[in-house]
Symmetry: C2
Subunit: 132 residues, 2 copies
């Protein structure tokens, strides 16, 4: 299992000593690739495992498998194995996962705005007008 934040949250939940709602939310998608997976599944629909691998070329096979497993455990993602000669598994968001999309979208919007600011500053640096 991965991610200390998620670990801590799960442990606290089990012990009934939990008191920080925003950490619970963060633990849902703070793993290295989870937010991308949720985003893609939320905006494009279902994906097969191997499709997710193509979408996230910098993530290892192991990471994708681990994160998907956690997302399923957390009730964010559904797993759909298909019968056949070769095992094929597709994934989709659960209603709970879908309920995270507004948060991720607002994060996207914030990040986009911030990115533009940073790029503008970068141009200014390039012109030698100011320093970092």
């Amino acid at each position: 299992m991965t991610d200390l934040v998620r670990e801590t949250v799960i442990e606290k939940l089990r012990d009934g000593e939990y008191n920080c709602p925003k950490e619970l939310t963060l633990s849902m998608f703070s793993g290295k690739w989870k937010i991308n997976m949720i985003y893609h599944l939320g905006h494009d629909g279902n994906y097969y495992f191997y499709e997710l691998q193509k979408l996230l070329p910098r993530a290892s096979h192991k990471e994708i498998a681990e994160k998907l497993k956690e997302l399923v455990e957390d009730g964010i993602v559904d797993r759909h194995p298909e019968a056949g000669p070769r095992l094929k598994v597709s994934y989709s968001l659960t209603p709970l996962g879908i309920s995270l999309l507004p948060i991720i979208d607002s994060m996207y919007a914030w990040g986009e705005k911030r990115l533009k600011e940073l790029q503008l500053r970068h141009v200014v640096f390039g012109l030698g007008e100011t320093k970092d």
Copy 2:
């Protein structure tokens, strides 16, 4: 420095190859205690270093110092050293940090709702009505 997500984002930004706004946002507060710090600073105003230590008793001195340093580097938090016989430093959110509060508040709301659901299920388990 800490947090691989943040590292990756910074690196990508430097190389000009950046293309994922939501990861940028996530990198702002995905460190282990950052979201709590931002939340407290946002809702309560300024805090001294030693006050943050009291607010986050499970976070080590080192962690708090590191995360604050990163938050300052990222433009989320301002550092206010006070002159005196003993060094005293207070911290506050920058406008940029304040602009993150709506996202954190929506995370809080989501987590609160989810927490209630989980607790309800927990009660049911305790009564032996169903299984995990």
